[in-house]
Protein backbone atom coordinates (compact mmCIF):
# COMPACT_ATOMS: atom_id res chain seq x y z
CA UNK A 1 0.00 0.00 0.00
CA UNK A 2 1.35 3.36 -1.01
CA UNK A 3 0.10 6.08 1.30
CA UNK A 4 -1.80 8.74 -0.59
CA UNK A 5 0.73 11.35 0.44
CA UNK A 6 3.70 9.73 -1.25
CA UNK A 7 4.61 9.18 -4.89
CA UNK A 8 6.28 6.13 -6.37
CA UNK A 9 9.95 6.21 -7.30
CA UNK A 10 9.65 3.93 -10.30
CA UNK A 11 11.66 1.23 -8.52
CA UNK A 12 9.58 -1.04 -6.31
CA UNK A 13 12.47 -1.90 -4.01
CA UNK A 14 13.20 1.77 -3.45
CA UNK A 15 9.53 2.42 -2.64
CA UNK A 16 9.93 -0.17 0.11
CA UNK A 17 13.11 1.41 1.45
CA UNK A 18 11.41 4.81 1.49
CA UNK A 19 8.29 3.33 3.14
CA UNK A 20 6.09 4.16 0.20
CA UNK A 21 8.04 6.57 -1.99
CA UNK A 22 8.89 10.27 -2.00
CA UNK A 23 6.87 12.92 -0.23
CA UNK A 24 5.89 15.04 -3.25
CA UNK A 25 6.93 18.63 -3.83
CA UNK A 26 10.41 18.35 -2.36
CA UNK A 27 13.98 18.04 -3.61
CA UNK A 28 15.92 14.81 -3.02
CA UNK A 29 19.53 13.87 -3.62
CA UNK A 30 20.61 10.74 -5.50
CA UNK A 31 24.32 10.37 -4.82
CA UNK A 32 27.04 7.91 -5.76
CA UNK A 33 30.42 7.53 -7.46
CA UNK A 34 30.71 7.57 -11.27
CA UNK A 35 29.24 4.44 -12.80
CA UNK A 36 26.97 3.62 -9.86
CA UNK A 37 23.69 4.00 -11.76
CA UNK A 38 22.44 7.43 -10.71
CA UNK A 39 21.19 8.51 -14.13
CA UNK A 40 19.33 5.24 -14.65
CA UNK A 41 17.67 5.56 -11.24
CA UNK A 42 16.51 9.08 -12.02
CA UNK A 43 15.19 8.16 -15.47
CA UNK A 44 13.13 5.41 -13.84
CA UNK A 45 11.66 8.07 -11.56
CA UNK A 46 10.65 10.14 -14.58
CA UNK A 47 9.30 7.14 -16.43
CA UNK A 48 7.04 6.35 -13.50
CA UNK A 49 5.66 9.89 -13.79
CA UNK A 50 5.18 9.65 -17.55
CA UNK A 51 3.20 6.44 -17.16
CA UNK A 52 0.86 8.24 -14.82
CA UNK A 53 0.43 11.03 -17.35
CA UNK A 54 2.58 13.50 -15.44
CA UNK A 55 4.76 16.09 -17.09
CA UNK A 56 8.41 15.36 -16.50
CA UNK A 57 11.62 17.25 -17.20
CA UNK A 58 15.20 16.00 -17.43
CA UNK A 59 17.85 18.73 -17.21
CA UNK A 60 21.02 17.41 -18.84
CA UNK A 61 24.24 19.04 -17.65
CA UNK A 62 26.64 16.09 -17.98
CA UNK A 63 25.91 14.36 -21.22
CA UNK A 64 24.33 15.57 -24.44
CA UNK A 65 20.65 14.56 -24.90
CA UNK A 66 21.39 12.50 -28.01
CA UNK A 67 23.64 10.24 -25.93
CA UNK A 68 21.05 9.98 -23.16
CA UNK A 69 18.55 8.86 -25.74
CA UNK A 70 20.88 6.21 -27.17
CA UNK A 71 21.90 5.02 -23.69
CA UNK A 72 18.32 4.54 -22.51
CA UNK A 73 17.28 2.69 -25.64
CA UNK A 74 18.45 -0.66 -24.29
CA UNK A 75 15.82 -0.49 -21.54
CA UNK A 76 12.97 -0.17 -24.04
CA UNK A 77 11.17 2.37 -21.94
CA UNK A 78 8.71 4.67 -23.59
CA UNK A 79 10.27 8.06 -22.91
CA UNK A 80 8.84 9.78 -26.00
CA UNK A 81 6.99 12.38 -23.96
CA UNK A 82 9.88 13.19 -21.66
CA UNK A 83 11.05 16.78 -21.91
CA UNK A 84 14.81 17.09 -22.06
CA UNK A 85 16.49 20.42 -21.48
CA UNK A 86 19.98 20.56 -22.98
CA UNK A 87 21.89 22.56 -20.37
CA UNK A 88 25.34 21.54 -21.57
CA UNK A 89 27.45 24.61 -22.16
CA UNK A 90 28.96 25.06 -25.57
CA UNK A 91 32.66 24.88 -26.26
CA UNK A 92 34.18 27.90 -24.58
CA UNK A 93 35.71 30.43 -26.90
CA UNK A 94 38.81 32.21 -25.97
CA UNK A 95 38.29 35.00 -28.40
CA UNK A 96 36.11 38.03 -28.02
CA UNK A 97 33.04 36.46 -29.58
CA UNK A 98 29.75 37.01 -27.86
CA UNK A 99 28.95 34.62 -25.09
CA UNK A 100 25.27 34.25 -24.54
CA UNK A 101 23.75 32.99 -21.39
CA UNK A 102 21.08 30.48 -22.22
CA UNK A 103 17.99 32.52 -22.61
CA UNK A 104 14.81 32.09 -20.69
CA UNK A 105 13.15 31.49 -24.05
CA UNK A 106 14.99 28.18 -24.39
CA UNK A 107 12.64 25.24 -24.79
CA UNK A 108 13.18 21.65 -23.79
CA UNK A 109 12.87 19.08 -26.56
CA UNK A 110 10.66 16.04 -26.45
CA UNK A 111 12.69 12.87 -26.25
CA UNK A 112 11.09 11.59 -29.45
CA UNK A 113 12.36 14.61 -31.35
CA UNK A 114 15.99 14.31 -30.25
CA UNK A 115 18.34 13.27 -33.03
CA UNK A 116 21.20 10.82 -33.13
CA UNK A 117 23.98 13.37 -33.40
CA UNK A 118 25.35 15.91 -31.02
CA UNK A 119 24.32 19.56 -31.23
CA UNK A 120 27.20 21.63 -32.55
CA UNK A 121 28.46 24.85 -31.07
CA UNK A 122 27.60 27.58 -33.59
CA UNK A 123 30.54 29.33 -35.21
CA UNK A 124 29.97 32.79 -33.97
CA UNK A 125 28.49 32.56 -30.56
CA UNK A 126 28.67 30.26 -27.57
CA UNK A 127 25.89 29.37 -25.27
CA UNK A 128 26.88 29.39 -21.65
CA UNK A 129 24.77 27.96 -18.88
CA UNK A 130 24.99 29.80 -15.58
CA UNK A 131 23.11 28.84 -12.48
CA UNK A 132 21.21 32.12 -12.59
CA UNK A 133 20.05 31.70 -16.16
CA UNK A 134 19.11 28.10 -15.53
CA UNK A 135 17.11 29.04 -12.47
CA UNK A 136 15.28 31.76 -14.41
CA UNK A 137 14.58 29.33 -17.20
CA UNK A 138 13.27 26.68 -14.83
CA UNK A 139 11.03 29.28 -13.22
CA UNK A 140 9.49 30.11 -16.58
CA UNK A 141 9.17 26.47 -17.57
CA UNK A 142 7.58 25.35 -14.33
CA UNK A 143 4.90 28.01 -14.63
CA UNK A 144 4.29 27.33 -18.28
CA UNK A 145 4.36 23.55 -18.30
CA UNK A 146 3.40 22.49 -14.79
CA UNK A 147 6.06 19.85 -14.36
CA UNK A 148 5.46 17.37 -11.60
CA UNK A 149 8.83 15.61 -11.70
CA UNK A 150 12.19 17.16 -12.47
CA UNK A 151 15.68 15.63 -12.56
CA UNK A 152 18.86 17.73 -12.46
CA UNK A 153 21.77 15.66 -13.84
CA UNK A 154 23.90 16.73 -12.08
CA UNK A 155 24.26 19.19 -9.22
CA UNK A 156 27.99 18.49 -9.43
CA UNK A 157 28.12 19.73 -13.01
CA UNK A 158 26.04 22.75 -12.02
CA UNK A 159 28.50 23.56 -9.27
CA UNK A 160 31.60 22.83 -11.27
CA UNK A 161 30.68 24.51 -14.53
CA UNK A 162 27.89 26.99 -13.95
CA UNK A 163 28.95 29.05 -10.98
CA UNK A 164 32.01 30.76 -9.71
CA UNK A 165 33.91 29.13 -6.92
CA UNK A 166 33.55 31.92 -4.39
CA UNK A 167 29.78 31.76 -4.58
CA UNK A 168 29.37 27.99 -4.66
CA UNK A 169 28.00 27.44 -1.19
CA UNK A 170 25.51 30.29 -1.22
CA UNK A 171 24.38 29.73 -4.80
CA UNK A 172 23.88 26.01 -4.35
CA UNK A 173 21.84 26.64 -1.27
CA UNK A 174 19.66 29.19 -2.99
CA UNK A 175 19.15 26.94 -6.02
CA UNK A 176 17.96 24.12 -3.79
CA UNK A 177 15.78 26.48 -1.83
CA UNK A 178 14.24 27.62 -5.06
CA UNK A 179 13.44 24.01 -6.00
CA UNK A 180 11.89 23.40 -2.58
CA UNK A 181 9.67 26.45 -2.95
CA UNK A 182 8.61 25.57 -6.45
CA UNK A 183 6.69 22.56 -5.11
CA UNK A 184 7.98 20.18 -7.72
CA UNK A 185 9.33 16.76 -6.78
CA UNK A 186 12.92 16.84 -7.91
CA UNK A 187 15.86 14.46 -7.92
CA UNK A 188 19.24 16.11 -7.85
CA UNK A 189 22.11 13.90 -8.92
CA UNK A 190 25.31 14.27 -6.95
CA UNK A 191 28.65 12.75 -7.91
CA UNK A 192 30.64 11.37 -5.01
CA UNK A 193 34.39 10.82 -4.97
CA UNK A 194 35.46 7.23 -4.41
CA UNK A 195 36.39 8.00 -0.88
CA UNK A 196 36.40 10.98 1.39
CA UNK A 197 33.93 13.65 2.18
CA UNK A 198 30.37 13.98 1.01
CA UNK A 199 29.70 17.29 -0.76
CA UNK A 200 27.59 19.90 1.07
CA UNK A 201 24.52 19.47 -1.15
CA UNK A 202 23.75 16.27 0.73
CA UNK A 203 23.07 18.23 3.89
CA UNK A 204 20.69 20.63 2.23
CA UNK A 205 18.23 18.17 0.71
CA UNK A 206 15.19 16.65 2.37
CA UNK A 207 16.36 13.19 1.65
CA UNK A 208 19.28 11.34 0.17
CA UNK A 209 19.36 8.02 -1.62
CA UNK A 210 22.96 6.90 -1.86
CA UNK A 211 24.37 4.37 -4.31
CA UNK A 212 27.54 2.51 -3.38
CA UNK A 213 29.96 0.71 -5.64
CA UNK A 214 32.23 -1.94 -4.18
CA UNK A 215 34.70 -3.96 -6.16
CA UNK A 216 35.70 -7.40 -5.03
CA UNK A 217 36.96 -10.59 -6.64
CA UNK A 218 33.66 -11.32 -8.33
CA UNK A 219 33.24 -7.90 -9.91
CA UNK A 220 31.39 -4.73 -9.06
CA UNK A 221 28.79 -4.97 -6.33
CA UNK A 222 26.24 -2.24 -6.10
CA UNK A 223 24.35 -1.25 -2.97
CA UNK A 224 21.75 1.34 -2.09
CA UNK A 225 20.92 3.01 1.19
CA UNK A 226 18.63 5.80 2.33
CA UNK A 227 20.90 8.16 4.20
CA UNK A 228 18.32 10.65 5.24
CA UNK A 229 14.60 11.21 4.81
CA UNK A 230 13.03 14.14 6.58
CA UNK A 231 9.38 13.81 7.46
CA UNK A 232 9.23 10.07 6.97
CA UNK A 233 10.51 6.84 8.41
CA UNK A 234 12.72 4.74 6.16
CA UNK A 235 14.62 1.48 6.01
CA UNK A 236 18.08 1.95 7.51
CA UNK A 237 19.88 -1.03 6.00
CA UNK A 238 22.06 -1.24 2.94
CA UNK A 239 20.65 -3.44 0.17
CA UNK A 240 22.28 -4.88 -2.94
CA UNK A 241 20.94 -3.89 -6.35
CA UNK A 242 21.58 -4.76 -9.95
CA UNK A 243 21.25 -2.94 -13.22
CA UNK A 244 19.22 -5.25 -15.42
CA UNK A 245 17.63 -4.84 -18.84
CA UNK A 246 14.59 -3.47 -17.04
CA UNK A 247 16.59 -0.97 -15.04
CA UNK A 248 17.61 -0.93 -11.41
CA UNK A 249 16.27 -3.83 -9.35
CA UNK A 250 16.83 -3.68 -5.60
CA UNK A 251 16.98 -6.98 -3.79
CA UNK A 252 15.07 -6.16 -0.62
CA UNK A 253 14.55 -9.83 0.15
CA UNK A 254 18.20 -10.49 0.79
CA UNK A 255 19.82 -9.96 4.11
CA UNK A 256 21.07 -6.41 4.55
CA UNK A 257 24.53 -6.16 3.04
CA UNK A 258 26.21 -5.13 6.23
CA UNK A 259 25.80 -8.46 7.98
CA UNK A 260 29.20 -10.09 7.63
Amino acid sequence: MIPATKIRTGISGLDKLLHGGYVPGRPYIVSGPPGAGKTIMSVQFLREGLEGGERCLFVALEEPPNELKINMRAFRWNLDDLDVLDANSDIRRFEPTPILEISTEEEPAKMRAIGERIRKTPDFESKEVTVHSLQQLLKTLLVKRHYERVVIDSMTALRYFCMREFEEAVTTQSFMRYLAESKVTSLLILELPEEGEVPPEAFLARGEVRLHKLRDETGIKRFVSVEKYKGSSHDESVYPFEITTSGIVINTASKPAMAV
Binding site: P34, I70, I91, S154, F161, E194, G196, R215, E217
Partner: protein
Protein backbone atom coordinates in the same frame (compact mmCIF):
# COMPACT_ATOMS: atom_id res chain seq x y z
CA UNK B 1 25.19 0.56 -33.13
CA UNK B 2 28.65 -0.33 -34.39
CA UNK B 3 31.19 -0.58 -31.64
CA UNK B 4 34.67 0.85 -31.80
CA UNK B 5 37.25 -1.86 -31.14
CA UNK B 6 40.14 -1.10 -28.84
CA UNK B 7 42.38 -3.55 -30.66
CA UNK B 8 42.88 -5.64 -27.54
CA UNK B 9 40.65 -8.69 -27.97
CA UNK B 10 40.15 -9.40 -24.29
CA UNK B 11 39.35 -5.78 -23.52
CA UNK B 12 36.83 -5.64 -26.36
CA UNK B 13 35.13 -8.68 -24.87
CA UNK B 14 35.02 -6.93 -21.50
CA UNK B 15 33.47 -3.90 -23.19
CA UNK B 16 30.77 -6.04 -24.72
CA UNK B 17 32.37 -5.69 -28.17
CA UNK B 18 33.97 -2.27 -27.90
CA UNK B 19 33.42 1.39 -27.11
CA UNK B 20 30.40 3.38 -28.24
CA UNK B 21 31.41 5.67 -31.11
CA UNK B 22 31.88 9.44 -30.99
CA UNK B 23 32.32 9.69 -27.24
CA UNK B 24 35.20 10.53 -24.93
CA UNK B 25 36.58 7.88 -22.54
CA UNK B 26 39.20 7.96 -19.80
CA UNK B 27 42.08 5.49 -19.46
CA UNK B 28 43.42 5.75 -15.92
CA UNK B 29 46.10 4.09 -13.86
CA UNK B 30 49.36 4.72 -12.04
CA UNK B 31 52.65 5.48 -13.79
CA UNK B 32 53.88 2.52 -15.77
CA UNK B 33 50.59 0.66 -15.76
CA UNK B 34 50.37 0.64 -19.55
CA UNK B 35 48.05 3.55 -20.37
CA UNK B 36 50.06 4.68 -23.38
CA UNK B 37 50.40 1.10 -24.65
CA UNK B 38 46.63 0.68 -24.46
CA UNK B 39 46.16 3.94 -26.35
CA UNK B 40 48.63 2.78 -29.02
CA UNK B 41 46.63 -0.43 -29.50
CA UNK B 42 43.53 1.68 -29.97
CA UNK B 43 45.22 3.81 -32.62
CA UNK B 44 46.81 0.82 -34.36
CA UNK B 45 43.40 -0.84 -34.62
CA UNK B 46 42.03 2.33 -36.20
CA UNK B 47 44.82 2.40 -38.76
CA UNK B 48 44.22 -1.26 -39.51
CA UNK B 49 40.64 -0.36 -40.37
CA UNK B 50 41.83 2.53 -42.55
CA UNK B 51 40.47 5.11 -40.15
CA UNK B 52 42.24 8.45 -39.77
CA UNK B 53 43.77 8.56 -36.29
CA UNK B 54 45.34 11.39 -34.34
CA UNK B 55 47.66 11.20 -31.36
CA UNK B 56 48.01 14.35 -29.29
CA UNK B 57 51.11 13.87 -27.21
CA UNK B 58 51.83 16.03 -24.20
CA UNK B 59 53.96 13.71 -22.11
CA UNK B 60 56.51 12.27 -24.48
CA UNK B 61 57.97 13.86 -27.59
CA UNK B 62 56.96 12.04 -30.81
CA UNK B 63 60.32 10.40 -31.42
CA UNK B 64 60.15 8.78 -28.01
CA UNK B 65 56.64 7.53 -28.69
CA UNK B 66 57.91 6.16 -31.96
CA UNK B 67 60.88 4.32 -30.50
CA UNK B 68 58.80 2.97 -27.63
CA UNK B 69 56.27 1.56 -30.05
CA UNK B 70 59.02 0.13 -32.26
CA UNK B 71 59.91 -2.26 -29.43
CA UNK B 72 56.57 -3.96 -30.04
CA UNK B 73 57.34 -4.14 -33.76
CA UNK B 74 54.44 -1.84 -34.56
CA UNK B 75 54.42 0.51 -37.43
CA UNK B 76 52.37 3.54 -36.68
CA UNK B 77 53.63 5.31 -39.78
CA UNK B 78 50.27 6.44 -40.99
CA UNK B 79 49.42 7.89 -37.61
CA UNK B 80 49.17 11.64 -37.39
CA UNK B 81 50.88 12.96 -34.36
CA UNK B 82 50.35 16.36 -32.84
CA UNK B 83 53.32 17.37 -30.79
CA UNK B 84 52.06 19.37 -27.85
CA UNK B 85 54.97 18.74 -25.55
CA UNK B 86 55.96 22.03 -24.04
CA UNK B 87 59.24 23.59 -25.04
CA UNK B 88 61.98 24.59 -22.79
CA UNK B 89 60.57 27.70 -21.29
CA UNK B 90 63.72 29.74 -21.73
CA UNK B 91 63.24 29.69 -25.48
CA UNK B 92 59.81 31.14 -25.37
CA UNK B 93 59.33 33.97 -27.75
CA UNK B 94 56.81 36.71 -27.88
CA UNK B 95 54.60 35.18 -30.54
CA UNK B 96 51.93 33.03 -29.12
CA UNK B 97 50.74 29.84 -30.63
CA UNK B 98 47.36 31.36 -31.34
CA UNK B 99 48.49 33.57 -34.19
CA UNK B 100 50.64 31.11 -36.05
CA UNK B 101 49.71 28.20 -38.20
CA UNK B 102 49.90 24.92 -36.39
CA UNK B 103 50.30 22.61 -39.36
CA UNK B 104 54.02 22.35 -38.67
CA UNK B 105 53.29 20.61 -35.43
CA UNK B 106 51.39 17.78 -36.99
CA UNK B 107 53.46 15.17 -38.66
CA UNK B 108 53.09 11.72 -40.02
CA UNK B 109 54.74 9.31 -37.69
CA UNK B 110 57.11 8.21 -40.43
CA UNK B 111 58.59 11.70 -40.62
CA UNK B 112 59.44 11.71 -36.97
CA UNK B 113 63.14 11.32 -36.53
CA UNK B 114 64.36 13.36 -33.66
CA UNK B 115 63.23 15.57 -30.87
CA UNK B 116 62.00 18.95 -32.01
CA UNK B 117 64.43 21.61 -31.01
CA UNK B 118 62.84 24.41 -29.11
CA UNK B 119 65.20 26.91 -30.61
CA UNK B 120 64.53 25.88 -34.21
CA UNK B 121 60.84 26.48 -34.15
CA UNK B 122 58.97 28.97 -32.19
CA UNK B 123 58.49 28.08 -28.58
CA UNK B 124 55.16 26.65 -27.71
CA UNK B 125 53.47 27.18 -24.51
CA UNK B 126 50.83 24.60 -24.03
CA UNK B 127 47.42 25.56 -22.81
CA UNK B 128 44.09 23.83 -23.13
CA UNK B 129 43.15 26.57 -25.49
CA UNK B 130 46.18 26.10 -27.73
CA UNK B 131 45.83 22.31 -27.78
CA UNK B 132 42.16 22.61 -28.61
CA UNK B 133 42.95 25.06 -31.34
CA UNK B 134 45.67 22.84 -32.77
CA UNK B 135 43.37 19.83 -32.84
CA UNK B 136 40.61 21.81 -34.47
CA UNK B 137 42.85 23.21 -37.15
CA UNK B 138 44.33 19.80 -37.87
CA UNK B 139 40.85 18.29 -37.98
CA UNK B 140 39.67 20.84 -40.52
CA UNK B 141 42.84 20.67 -42.63
CA UNK B 142 42.58 16.90 -42.73
CA UNK B 143 38.92 17.08 -43.66
CA UNK B 144 39.70 19.50 -46.45
CA UNK B 145 42.59 17.48 -47.89
CA UNK B 146 41.27 13.99 -47.59
CA UNK B 147 37.52 14.50 -47.16
CA UNK B 148 37.82 12.33 -44.10
CA UNK B 149 37.16 13.04 -40.47
CA UNK B 150 39.41 11.80 -37.73
CA UNK B 151 37.72 8.78 -36.24
CA UNK B 152 40.01 8.20 -33.27
CA UNK B 153 41.80 10.71 -31.10
CA UNK B 154 44.10 10.01 -28.16
CA UNK B 155 45.11 12.74 -25.72
CA UNK B 156 48.18 11.60 -23.77
CA UNK B 157 47.86 12.90 -21.17
CA UNK B 158 45.28 15.00 -19.42
CA UNK B 159 47.48 14.94 -16.34
CA UNK B 160 50.20 16.74 -18.27
CA UNK B 161 47.74 19.18 -19.76
CA UNK B 162 46.45 20.03 -16.33
CA UNK B 163 49.88 20.44 -14.84
CA UNK B 164 51.18 22.63 -17.63
CA UNK B 165 48.35 24.88 -18.18
CA UNK B 166 45.64 25.01 -15.66
CA UNK B 167 45.58 26.96 -12.54
CA UNK B 168 42.83 28.06 -10.33
CA UNK B 169 39.15 27.93 -10.67
CA UNK B 170 38.82 27.75 -14.41
CA UNK B 171 40.29 24.31 -14.82
CA UNK B 172 37.01 22.47 -14.39
CA UNK B 173 35.31 24.62 -16.97
CA UNK B 174 38.27 24.24 -19.33
CA UNK B 175 38.11 20.46 -19.08
CA UNK B 176 34.35 20.48 -19.53
CA UNK B 177 34.75 22.61 -22.61
CA UNK B 178 37.58 20.41 -23.91
CA UNK B 179 35.48 17.26 -23.54
CA UNK B 180 32.57 19.00 -25.21
CA UNK B 181 34.92 19.93 -28.00
CA UNK B 182 36.05 16.31 -28.43
CA UNK B 183 32.41 15.16 -28.40
CA UNK B 184 31.46 17.62 -31.11
CA UNK B 185 34.26 16.33 -33.34
CA UNK B 186 32.34 13.04 -33.20
CA UNK B 187 35.57 11.08 -32.91
CA UNK B 188 35.95 8.31 -30.36
CA UNK B 189 38.56 9.63 -28.01
CA UNK B 190 40.71 8.21 -25.25
CA UNK B 191 41.95 10.57 -22.60
CA UNK B 192 44.90 9.27 -20.64
CA UNK B 193 44.75 10.46 -17.06
CA UNK B 194 46.45 9.62 -13.84
CA UNK B 195 44.17 9.88 -10.90
CA UNK B 196 46.12 12.01 -8.50
CA UNK B 197 43.79 11.95 -5.54
CA UNK B 198 40.97 9.55 -4.87
CA UNK B 199 39.31 12.03 -2.57
CA UNK B 200 38.70 14.66 -5.16
CA UNK B 201 36.25 14.30 -7.93
CA UNK B 202 38.11 15.14 -11.11
CA UNK B 203 36.12 16.53 -13.96
CA UNK B 204 37.26 14.19 -16.72
CA UNK B 205 36.37 11.17 -14.60
CA UNK B 206 32.71 11.98 -14.15
CA UNK B 207 32.18 13.70 -17.49
CA UNK B 208 33.73 10.96 -19.60
CA UNK B 209 31.36 8.28 -20.81
CA UNK B 210 33.46 5.51 -19.42
CA UNK B 211 36.61 4.67 -17.54
CA UNK B 212 39.06 1.86 -18.24
CA UNK B 213 41.29 1.54 -15.20
CA UNK B 214 44.69 -0.12 -15.23
CA UNK B 215 46.19 -1.53 -12.05
CA UNK B 216 49.76 -2.35 -11.17
CA UNK B 217 51.09 -3.81 -7.97
CA UNK B 218 54.04 -5.68 -6.57
CA UNK B 219 53.55 -9.32 -5.65
CA UNK B 220 56.71 -10.56 -4.04
CA UNK B 221 59.29 -9.55 -6.61
CA UNK B 222 57.01 -9.55 -9.65
CA UNK B 223 54.98 -6.74 -11.12
CA UNK B 224 51.36 -7.75 -11.60
CA UNK B 225 48.91 -5.97 -13.83
CA UNK B 226 45.18 -5.94 -14.18
CA UNK B 227 42.45 -4.00 -15.94
CA UNK B 228 38.92 -3.15 -14.88
CA UNK B 229 36.05 -1.16 -16.30
CA UNK B 230 34.71 1.28 -13.76
CA UNK B 231 32.03 2.99 -15.75
CA UNK B 232 30.53 2.61 -19.21
CA UNK B 233 27.48 4.67 -20.04
CA UNK B 234 24.95 3.11 -22.33
CA UNK B 235 26.37 -0.39 -22.29
CA UNK B 236 26.67 -3.47 -20.17
CA UNK B 237 30.19 -4.68 -19.47
CA UNK B 238 32.28 -7.31 -17.73
CA UNK B 239 32.73 -5.90 -14.25
CA UNK B 240 35.47 -8.27 -13.11
CA UNK B 241 39.06 -7.27 -12.78
CA UNK B 242 41.09 -9.15 -15.38
CA UNK B 243 44.74 -10.06 -15.46
CA UNK B 244 46.81 -8.14 -17.94
CA UNK B 245 50.22 -8.75 -19.42
CA UNK B 246 52.45 -6.51 -21.50
CA UNK B 247 54.71 -8.64 -23.62
CA UNK B 248 56.35 -8.70 -27.01
CA UNK B 249 53.07 -8.27 -28.82
CA UNK B 250 51.81 -5.56 -26.56
CA UNK B 251 48.94 -5.78 -24.17
CA UNK B 252 46.99 -8.99 -23.62
CA UNK B 253 43.96 -9.30 -21.37
CA UNK B 254 43.42 -12.76 -19.94
CA UNK B 255 39.77 -13.56 -19.58
CA UNK B 256 40.00 -17.00 -17.97
CA UNK B 257 40.34 -15.96 -14.38
CA UNK B 258 39.49 -12.76 -12.62
CA UNK B 259 42.50 -11.03 -11.12
CA UNK B 260 42.82 -10.64 -7.41
CA UNK B 261 45.20 -8.29 -5.83
CA UNK B 262 47.37 -9.97 -3.22
CA UNK B 263 50.35 -7.77 -2.96
CA UNK B 264 52.30 -6.08 -0.29
CA UNK B 265 52.42 -2.72 -1.92
CA UNK B 266 50.90 0.07 0.07
CA UNK B 267 48.77 2.74 -1.44
CA UNK B 268 45.35 2.80 -2.95
CA UNK B 269 43.87 -0.44 -4.13
CA UNK B 270 40.66 -1.10 -5.93
CA UNK B 271 37.64 -1.91 -3.89
CA UNK B 272 37.99 0.93 -1.49
CA UNK B 273 34.74 2.69 -1.06
CA UNK B 274 32.36 4.05 1.45
CA UNK B 275 31.03 0.60 2.01
CA UNK B 276 34.48 -0.73 2.66
CA UNK B 277 34.98 2.04 5.18
CA UNK B 278 31.94 0.75 7.02
CA UNK B 279 33.25 -2.81 6.88
CA UNK B 280 36.54 -1.61 8.30
CA UNK B 281 34.67 0.02 11.16
CA UNK B 282 32.81 -3.17 11.95
CA UNK B 283 35.87 -5.38 11.86
CA UNK B 284 37.96 -2.99 13.92
CA UNK B 285 35.20 -2.79 16.51
CA UNK B 286 35.18 -6.56 16.76
CA UNK B 287 38.96 -6.69 17.11
CA UNK B 288 38.86 -3.98 19.73
CA UNK B 289 36.27 -6.00 21.64
CA UNK B 290 38.53 -9.04 21.63
CA UNK B 291 41.43 -6.95 22.88
CA UNK B 292 39.35 -5.69 25.78
CA UNK B 293 38.42 -9.24 26.68
CA UNK B 294 42.02 -10.41 26.58
CA UNK B 295 42.84 -7.56 28.93
CA UNK B 296 40.06 -8.71 31.21
CA UNK B 297 41.29 -12.32 31.04
CA UNK B 298 44.76 -11.20 32.08
CA UNK B 299 43.35 -9.45 35.13
CA UNK B 300 41.50 -12.60 36.10
CA UNK B 301 44.61 -14.65 35.35
CA UNK B 302 42.87 -16.81 32.77
CA UNK B 303 45.37 -18.31 30.33
CA UNK B 304 44.72 -16.82 26.86
CA UNK B 305 48.01 -17.24 25.04
CA UNK B 306 46.29 -19.06 22.17
CA UNK B 307 43.74 -16.27 21.89
CA UNK B 308 46.50 -13.73 21.52
CA UNK B 309 47.86 -15.74 18.64
CA UNK B 310 44.42 -15.83 17.03
CA UNK B 311 44.06 -12.11 17.56
CA UNK B 312 47.27 -11.41 15.72
CA UNK B 313 46.03 -13.62 12.89
CA UNK B 314 42.85 -11.57 12.76
CA UNK B 315 44.84 -8.36 12.65
CA UNK B 316 47.02 -9.72 9.90
CA UNK B 317 43.96 -10.64 7.87
CA UNK B 318 42.58 -7.18 8.58
CA UNK B 319 45.75 -5.58 7.32
CA UNK B 320 45.55 -7.63 4.15
CA UNK B 321 41.98 -6.50 3.70
CA UNK B 322 40.54 -9.99 4.13
CA UNK B 323 37.80 -8.50 6.20
CA UNK B 324 35.59 -11.52 6.19
CA UNK B 325 38.36 -13.74 7.50
CA UNK B 326 39.36 -11.17 10.12
CA UNK B 327 35.76 -10.94 11.24
CA UNK B 328 35.39 -14.72 11.53
CA UNK B 329 38.51 -15.09 13.65
CA UNK B 330 37.55 -12.15 15.83
CA UNK B 331 34.06 -13.50 16.42
CA UNK B 332 35.40 -16.97 17.28
CA UNK B 333 37.85 -15.43 19.76
CA UNK B 334 35.09 -13.34 21.20
CA UNK B 335 32.79 -16.24 22.07
CA UNK B 336 35.67 -18.41 23.28
CA UNK B 337 36.93 -15.66 25.56
CA UNK B 338 33.47 -14.99 26.95
CA UNK B 339 33.18 -18.63 27.99
CA UNK B 340 36.59 -18.70 29.61
CA UNK B 341 36.05 -15.47 31.50
CA UNK B 342 32.59 -16.56 32.67
CA UNK B 343 34.14 -19.76 34.05
CA UNK B 344 36.93 -17.92 35.88
CA UNK B 345 36.88 -16.59 39.47
CA UNK B 346 36.01 -12.90 39.90
CA UNK B 347 38.90 -10.49 39.38
CA UNK B 348 41.03 -9.19 42.22
CA UNK B 349 40.11 -5.59 43.03
CA UNK B 350 42.13 -3.00 41.13
CA UNK B 351 42.60 0.68 41.79
CA UNK B 352 41.86 1.88 38.29
CA UNK B 353 40.73 -0.24 35.34
CA UNK B 354 43.31 -0.28 32.58
CA UNK B 355 42.41 1.62 29.47
CA UNK B 356 41.52 -0.51 26.49
CA UNK B 357 44.23 -0.22 23.88
CA UNK B 358 43.26 1.43 20.65
CA UNK B 359 43.53 -0.38 17.37
CA UNK B 360 45.83 1.38 15.00
CA UNK B 361 45.14 1.02 11.35
Amino acid sequence: MDRVKTGIAGLDTMLNDGLLPARPYVVSGPTGSGKTVLAAHFLLEGLRQQEPCLLVTLDEPPFEVKSNMATFGWSLDRLKILDATPDVRAHKRARSVIDVGTSLDVRDMEDVTDIRQSSVMRALEVTVHSVQKMIKQEFLTHLEHTKQRYKRIVVDSMTALKMFSMQGQDSRILIQSFLRFLSELEATSLIVSERLDRKTLETEFFLSRGEIRLHKWIDGSAIRRAVSIEKFRGSSFDDKMRTLTIGEKGMVVLLEAPATIRGTSPGPKPGESLLEARLIDEVSNAIEGVMRQIEEAHRRQVPVRDMEVSLSRAMLAFQRRSYQKAMQIALACDSDLKQRIAGAPPPPPVAAPPRPPAVTR
